[in-house]
Structure formats: C-alpha cells, structure tokens
Symmetry: C2
Subunit: 631 residues, 2 copies
C-alpha cells in the first residue's frame, strides 16, 4: 500500500467544552488544521469576529466553515426577503472571521414550502450574493428537515440552482441515521461540488434522529455507524477535502476540551487508516494478559499478599534492582510494586493500593509503541537497571499503564528471566490458566476515551452492551475483546455514584481496574482449594439456586454442587456453560474471580451480575441488609 497524502483535519467548536478561546486552544494543541465556528460559540464570545480570526491565526488554525445558517430556503414572503437580509448580515460576520464558506441546513420550519424549485431559486439568490463577496454556500439535508431529509434531495435542489458558489455538505450522521448511504453519489455529484464533509459516529439507538443527533453523536470509531464505508464511498467518487468532526454529545460538553480534541484527532487518523488513506503501524496480534500490576507499599503488600494467597498465589520472584515482587499461580502473574519514585508509587500515594498497570502479550511491542505514537497516545518508558529488559508502555486514559511484552507463546524469552530472580513455586493441583478477563470501571465522561483506546490502538471489538441493576443504580457494561479471544476487557460505567461501580470510580476520581477474573480448567476444585486456604469467597444466596433450578432445569446434584461452593452458573443458547465464583473485595478496590468456560461459552455471566453486586453490597456493610429470620 502506498501512502496517499493525509487529508486536512477540522473540528467543530461545538464538539468541545468551554469558552471559544479554550476550544481553539484545544483544537490547535491536538493538531487540527482548522475549526468549524459554531455560531453559538461566537455569539457567547465577548470579542469581535476579527478577534477570533486573529486568535486562530496565532494558533495556526484556519476556519473551515461558519455554521449553521438555519431555516433559510423555501419560506413564503416576507420571511424570504428577511432571510436574504439575514444572510447579508452573516456574510459580514464571515468576512470579519475570514472564512469563505457557510453551511445552510435544510429548513425545519412548519411554514417551509415543499417546493424544490423555490428552494433552488432561494439558494441561487443566496449563492449569488455570496459570490459577489467571494464567499460560498453549502447546503445540507438534516435528517429531520421539514421536506429535505436526504442528501439526494439536497443535491437535486443544488443541481437545479446551478450556481458555482453553491455546493453540497455531507454529514455521515444525517445519512447513516436514516439507514441511508452514499450509493449513487459517484457519477451523479461531481466531487468538487461536495464543498464540505462532516463526520460523526453514534451508537445505534431507537430514538428520533433529532434527539439522537443532539445528545449521542460520537467520534468515528466510538460508535456503531459505518462511517468507514461512508468515507470510502466518498473517496471513490473522487472527493478529497477536509475531514471535519461535528459531534453533539452531552458528555463531551462536560469533558476537558483538550482530551476531547485529542480523541477527535485520533479518531480521524484511525478512520484514514480504515479507508486505506494512511498506513499506521499495524494493529498488534494479542496473546493474553502477561501480568497485572498493583501499586503498594510494604504494609499494603503484606495485606494484599494474604488476600492473593487465598487464590493460591505465592511470591515467586523478586526484581533484581527494584522493590517489586512477582506473585504467581500457574500461568497467572501479578506484580506488587512498592518501588519509590516510580509510576506505581505516584499512583499509590494518590489512591492507596490499586491496580496501576497491566501487561499485554503482543507480537511486536515496539510496533505497538509506534502505533501509539502515531495515534498520539502517551508512551512511557520506566527507568531500568543495568542488564534489565526495557518494557515499553502506553498510558491508558485513566493514567494507568499498558505494558507491551513479547508473547512467550511465540518463542519470546519471558520478561521474568531478565529482570527477576524467580524461585520455582510448588505446583497447584488446580493452577490458574491465566487472566480470563480484567474489568475497568470508568466515570461516565471517560467511557468514550477508553472505547477509542481499545479499538484504535489495540483493535479490540465491542460486544453487547449490558444493563446491570446494582441495588443502588444501573451499571452499563460492555466487553472489548481481541479478535482471537486472547484478551477480554469489560468496561463498566454508572451514572449513579451509589453503585459499587460509582463508588469505586468516585474514590479513584476517574477510572481503574477493579476486577480480575482468572481462567481455570476445573472451577469446583479451584474453589475447594481456595476455601481450604481460607480465601474470602463471596456468599451467594440460596434463592439464586432456586431460580437457577426453575430457569435451567439443572439436576439436583449439579445444583447442590454449585450451591455448596457459591458458584454462579450461566448457559448460552448453544449450550456453552460458564461457572464462576468471586472473592470478597480487597479494601473496596479489587475483587477476583475464578471462571471455567465450557462448550465455547464466550460471555461473562452478565445474567449473574445483579446477584454478585447485591452480595458485594451486603458484604460492604455486613448486618445492615440482613433481615434475621429469628426476629
């Protein structure tokens, strides 16, 4: 693949939070070449349009368009004349801003005429007036326009109007939200007549397009619309212009503008890769989670060690130069990092004992780092001692690290051999097979940043969204999974701060890993061993098993075997089975799970999550939720 020239990138100021100067700063810092000036941001700004022009020049930002100009075409008189006067006023503003393009979106007024010829005549008049000042007009079909809803209708009006200063504006959301696409564009619309392109993704929601558009748009790659195909079709039609993001999103409005702008640029870089326009360092082939690392001090390490010991973890190695221990059970590795002046120490000081990193096995760590750099994700290189292995890492949106290690399954030398003095651990009769999944709880405003990180850097795929009732609010959970199934990272989010997820996220003021599940071949044996070791396992109420019997018709013996061990159970439509058990929480910061998958089961036992969450809540305040039968 030969690399084509990258396309210029723009972002609408409405995507970003804050006052106009904040938005311009953030767009420039992220590396956009230009911004769309959303009119409302100009109206609320207390400088002149010329001030905005100068601020943009200082930041080396162009102004790609001024938008929107609403409810213009096909109005009866006297509104028609008034609208042309209004346009002249806005042309003044555009000239002061120094932009030559204005976006007219299709009329939503009940009084608008259903008359394409009249709409064309009005837009011709407007374009003629614009052209006299060296300006241009582009016309866009809103998905909820009164009469003009689709790009083909908008194009037909532009074709009739036939003015060189009038062209089409395409918006991926307006097209894809209606289930439409760009088929028929090539050969019909000359590419130079597509004056502007706005890109937005969105989750698939069954709601009216107006509310959907105003509140739930996302950057490409964060949602479920086929923006890639949309752009491919446009490029095939011969178009090559600016890629501009226009996203209305309730959470983006409250998020820091610099983070949002950086995510926006990343989404466009990823999209250019998807359409074959640029070549980023290839996505990694993942081979599982090599270790999870906890930030601790000596005291917390001792306490955590006891907790981990319940699941059969034992100290299996010491770092050669740092105060870092390796704990191991079978193929599952945990790192307890108490090294001062490290990334871990920083996190420990802020948050106490908590997960500060994980390591992914990849085919080529340095290629992932190069991909991260291309996507502008921050890369971290810890200082190392002499002869020690350099392990590169990328920072996740919550500040924790993702280390990248060569996959030992591909013949690479395990990292432990260089940096640790490893002592052999006694074989467990039911060793852990590795990390089955590791779950991150994230604040609502940070979810979309994580989705982008998982998809664009690591190539993980989004699974079904689950809505799980915690006793104090809903928790929404979605797993991100490697195409080969080797890495599974569920993300949980809760609007309520009273749920387990919400309380964890509040305590961390952002996000963090709060749950690690380990794969086992035989969960019954694993739980029996854990119980024998005194592991703090989570009690599951009897009613759960009554319902299991009713729902799934399990044999009494099997039911009893589950109940005796507080094992949860799920069965999928194809007969795949999931058996799993949880530990109690370690200091409200982490809980562990052992899980056995049989018959190709690929889920996470989501159906059991409410039972687990209620049990965790009871456990967090023993006695309070119990009604004694002796009363």
């Amino acid at each position: 693949m030969t690399e084509l020239a990258r396309l210029p990138k723009s972002i609408a100021t409405v995507c970003l939070s804050g006052a106009l100067p904040d938005k311009l700063e953030a767009a420039s810092a992220a590396g956009f070449q230009s911004v769309e000036i959303f009119e409302n941001d100009l109206l609320t700004f207390d400088g002149t349009p010329a001030d905005v022009r100068r601020a943009c020049e200082d930041l080396d930002l162009g102004i790609s368009i001024f938008q929107p100009f609403r409810d213009f075409e096909a109005m009866p008189e006297p509104q028609r004349t008034r609208n042309l006067d209004r346009a002249e006023r806005k042309f003044d503003t555009m000239q002061a801003l120094g932009t030559d393009l204005v976006l007219v979106c299709s009329n939503v007024q009940p009084g608008a005429l259903d008359d394409p010829a009249r709409a064309a005549a009005d837009l011709h008049d407007m374009a003629e007036r614009a052209a006299r000042r060296g300006l241009r007009v582009c016309y866009e079909a809103l998905a909820w326009g009164r009469h003009v809803k689709r790009w083909r209708q908008a194009w037909e009006i532009i074709r009739i109007a036939d003015h060189p200063a009038l062209g089409l504006c395409l918006d991926s959301f307006h097209t894809l939200a209606l289930g439409d696409d760009l088929s028929g564009l090539a050969g019909t619309v000359p590419p130079e007549k597509v004056f502007f392109l706005q890109l937005a993704d969105a989750p698939r929601l069954a709601m009216d397009p107006l509310s959907w558009s105003r509140h739930h748009r996302l950057f490409p790659g964060q949602g479920e619309l086929d923006v890639t195909r949309f752009l491919q079709d446009l490029l095939k039609a011969g178009w090559a212009g600016t890629l501009s993001l226009e996203v209305f999103n309730d959470e983006f409005r409250g998020a820091p503008s610099r983070r949002t702008a950086r995510d926006g640029l990343r989404s466009l870089l990823w999209l250019e890769e998807q359409v074959g326009r640029v070549q980023l360092p290839r996505l990694p082939t993942l081979g599982g989670i090599e270790f999870v690392e906890f930030a601790v001090d000596a005291a917390a390490r001792e306490e955590l060690g006891r907790f981990l010991g319940g699941l059969g973890f034992a100290r299996a190695g010491l770092h050669r130069s740092k105060d870092v221990e390796l704990w191991r059970n079978g193929a599952a590795n945990l790192v307890l990092n108490a090294e001062p002046d490290s990334a871990a120490a920083e996190r420990f000081e802020q948050l106490g004992p908590t997960v500060c990193a994980m390591a992914l096995r990849v085919d080529d760590p340095e290629r992932v780092v190069a991909r991260a750099e291309a996507l502008q994700y921050p890369v971290w290189r810890e200082r190392i001692g002499e002869g020690e292995r350099h392990i590169p890492a990328v920072r996740q949106p919550d500040g924790t690290l993702v280390y990248l290690v060569e996959d030992p399954a591909q013949g690479a030398r395990p990292i432990w051999e260089d940096d640790f003095s490893v002592s052999p651990v006694e074989d467990s009769p039911a060793p852990l097979l590795g990390v089955d999944h590791a779950a991150e709880a994230v604040a609502p405003g940070m979810m979309d940043s994580f989705v982008l990180f998982y998809r664009t850097l690591l190539g993980l795929q989004a699974e079904t969204l689950w809505e799980l009732p915690d006793p104090y609010g809903l928790v929404r959970s979605r797993a991100f999974v490697a195409p080969n199934g080797s890495v599974r990272l569920p993300l949980s989010v809760s609007e309520s701060t009273r749920t387990g997820t919400g309380r964890f996220v509040s305590a961390l003021a952002g996000a963090g890993m709060h749950h690690i599940a380990f794969a086992v071949a035989d969960v019954a044996t694993a739980v029996d061993l854990a119980a024998a070791r005194g592991a703090p396992l989570l009690d599951i109420p009897e009613n759960y098993y009554e319902d299991l019997a009713a729902r799934l018709g399990l044999e009494d013996a099997e039911l009893l075997a589950l109940q005796r061990r507080h094992l949860l159970y799920d069965r999928d439509a194809a007969g795949g089975v999931f058996r799993h058990a949880y530990t109690r929480q370690f200091r409200d910061r982490i809980f562990l799970e052992v899980a056995e998958r049989d018959g190709g089961y690929t889920g996470f036992g989501a159906v059991n999550a409410p039972v687990r969450m209620a049990a965790q809540r009871r456990d967090a305040r023993p006695g309070v939720d119990r009604t004694s039968s002796a009363e």
Copy 2:
C-alpha cells in the same frame, strides 16, 4: 362530592433502591398496604422467601403479587413443558412468600408462536395448576411483546382460556405508550377479571417502548401520560382494587428509598383526587411571591445588602422580636434572616448565605397546610413572639421552606404590619412590580420530587422543556406556572457538575433557589438606575446584538438602546416581547434579573440563556476566557 373509600395502595420493590429489607421498610414507612415482590429483589436477597414473608408481616405489609414470570405462553415443545415445570417451582416460592397472585407478561422470545389459541391453552394449564394450590395468574400485554402487545389481545387470550384462576393485568404505561387507551374495556371485561393494576407515568419520549419503559417511567403526576383518564376509565368499568406503582427509573434506582416511597404514595393520593375518589383540601389559588428569604449572619447581611442595594432594595423594616430585616423595592420584598436557632440559621451554618425560604400568597394558608398534611409533606411552624402572626410553612424537597401567607390583594392584612416595624422607603422612579419568577437548581435525582411537589401541592403546570447549552454541559430547564400566571418557578437540572447549575447544586449538595427575576414596567429605566447605583450588571457581548439584528431585524436605534444597557431581548411568534438584564452572581449563590414583559409574552427568554451562562462563566473567572485583540 361524597368521599368514596380509598383504594389500597401497593408499590413494586423495583421502584426503590437498596436491598430488599430497605425497600420493604421504605414502603411500610410511607404507608403502603402491600408490595409487589419483583423477582430480582428476591433472587439477590440472602434470606428465604419465608423470611421475606415474616419481614412483611412485621411491617404490616401484604404481598400483592409476585412478578414477573416471563416468556411463558405459546412456546414450542420442549420449552412448553419446561415452562410449566418452571411455573411449579415459582408456585413453591409464592406459597413460601404467602402471595396468591403471579404476573405473566406476554412472551418476547423470537421463537414464540403467533397462536392465541395455543397461548390460551398454555395459560389455562398454568391457571389450573395454580388453582390446585389456591393461587391465581394474571396476564399482561407488554408493549414490546413478540405477538401480544395490547390489552385487548391479552384479554382475548384470557377469554378463550376461560379459567377462574386466570385474569388480566393492566399497566398504564404499556397501554398509553402505544397511544392506546381503555376504550372498550367497560362492557367487555368483567371488572372482577382485572386481577391487577399497575400504574406508571412517563415523559413523552420518541424512543422504543422497551428503553422508554426500562429507564424513564415515573410516578403518576410526574410525567405527561394521561394516567388519570386511564384510571377513570377503569373505575367506570366497575373495577375497584389495589393501585400499584411499577416504575423503572434510572434515577429512582440511585435515590434514597424512603424519599421515593413517600413520593410514590403522594402520587397515588393525588391520582385518587384527580379521579374524584377522595377529596383532599382544595388546591390553592396563588397570588404571587410575597417574599424571598435569605439565611445570613451579620457580615453576610451587610455584603448582601450592598448587592441588593444595586437593584434599589433598601432596608424597610425590622422584625419585632428576631434578628430579621425586610428589604424592599416597590412591591418586591426580601427577608434577610440572621436569627440564631432558626431554620435559616441551620441552613446558613451548612451552606453560607443562600435562599432558605419563599412565601407564596394564597387564598387560604391553613387549607394549603391541610393539603400538605394530606399529601404527607412536612409542615413547619416557626416559633413566634407574642402578638406576632403565625405563618405556616411547608418544606420543599430540598429542605427550604415555602411560607403561606394570605393574599393582600384579596384584602388580607400584610404580614409585615404585625411582625415588623416598617419604615417607609423613598419611592423609586422605577419600582419593582414583584417577583416575576424564581428559579431553583436541583440535582438530577431530586427533579421528580420537585415536580411532584409543585404539581400536587400547588397545582402548578409544567411548561416546555428547554435544553440550554452552558459552556460546560447541557442544562435542562422547565418552568412550573400557576394557572393564573401569578407564580412562575423554573427548575433547572444538569448532569454535568461543571455547568453553573451543576456547580451550584454540588456546592449545596442538593438543590436551592439560585436566581430571582423581578418584574418591571420599564426595564431600560430600571437598568439605568441600577447602573447609576453601581449595581454589578452582567456584560453581554457585542456579537449577541449582531445576531439579534440578523435574526429579528430590529431597528438600529432599538438595538443600540439594548446593547448600551446589556439588555437581552426575545420575541415570541405572537409578537410578545421580553427585555431583561442580569446582575453578576452574589458569592456564586444567587443572581438577580429585571424583566419587562410586553404584548403577552409568557416565556423566560430561554433563547438567551446560553449567552447569559457564558457571560456568567467568564465573570466567575475573569481574564481566563478572554482573547485580547492586542496579542
């Protein structure tokens, strides 16, 4: 009207947050006679069904129904047989719980057969098995059922099944969400065959009924569905049974269960009044806001006095026995309360200087108090000095007080004459005409409690919902207005904690009044006077006036007159005009507005709110948002 017997009241445990014992406690404390046991609440509970039965007995609560039993009818074999086995298991649970009724909701499985006869046969079998144990089954059409979506379909199946232990369950949401109603029920369905009734309201949302139902249901009176008509139709058909609330609501899930339960009971009392079943003390006729009261200490009073002086308020009276001052401009009264050991002092200690009460003019204060008591709203009676007037008050959901005073316009003696020594104040050339509107900012979880308070106690009517973009997130705002227009109380809510509304609500950890608008006859003169007095008025940027000119085609002279005074302007479709100006914030706690209404304008200038909010934000951090043109 003769009062009929009140109907028994029930609430589904799914409406309430917490573990099952919390939910039962809350339902009992609010005064419900019974609860629906939502199956999930039983499954996650770590006691037996018999424990639940005993807990209910201890709380004097019945169990009205066990629900839901899903995906039962019209399944092919072997599911059909399995489902009957499942039913037997659940019958065991019901008998242990001590309830005789189970709710079967219509099948949503893709594999369900579109075969009413088969559905009838299956339900007949289930009812027969239930009857053998003295149990009964009711069948409900889910709005998103695979084949059975409407109550008429469900009834037809029940009619064919023809079993005495099988009846209909009606749910106001499932019926009204589809735009359906109960017409045709009377004369078709014998009232004794309606075994159960579930009531829920909801806002009108254009989304799929499943998501709408799962996340946005409300108690009757909190939403926009015609639940009153629904219940009237059912009563007309001869039905008289238990009124049971079933609400799935994301915010209720996170809200304190006792508050939610109390609101639920209030909503049913109100609904019974609406359908003429009970007679509560009549709604008040409102006559405006007599005063707004601030909690202060001596230092804050001095500072607030200076702030109020800018709008022409002057000290006009001293309370005879308490450290309370009356400040007045024209017909607008403000009370500055620094009395120790008062409700005001309590609020001041917690929150600093802030609004702690308002007084509404009503036709009969004691009748409002009686209505509040009937609706279980807490009533407050402040201690009074000898010869002083007793002014009763009701506590709003945020803990602030609504005093109730006789309307002086109806000839009542003004309260000031008894309790204050009032000194005459110099007449202002542009006196305030009174409070135009007073706005409360509320935390998301508290909104529906306020809506219920305003509607059920005061009879205020909900106006259009506005979505207003603050620079750091959306603010949703809806005004509640007396039918005679004398009282206007907008409520604002923001999911983002970074908006002005969100920051205020976070600082107050709940809700509070943050904005008072005063009516004036001539806003230009009022603003000129305020400016002359050195009032801290809010600057409005020039771009706003440029846009006003383009949008509304104002004459240059009028535009200039507005701009010179930082006046905002709105015009409605009928030509009504609103001119208004704001003060800067007092300690981030309150801002004031002067507003002139002409030509029957009834809005609040919502179109100008983004400009106001951006200006307030700039004002809160001067310099930061400005881009100097000199750079």
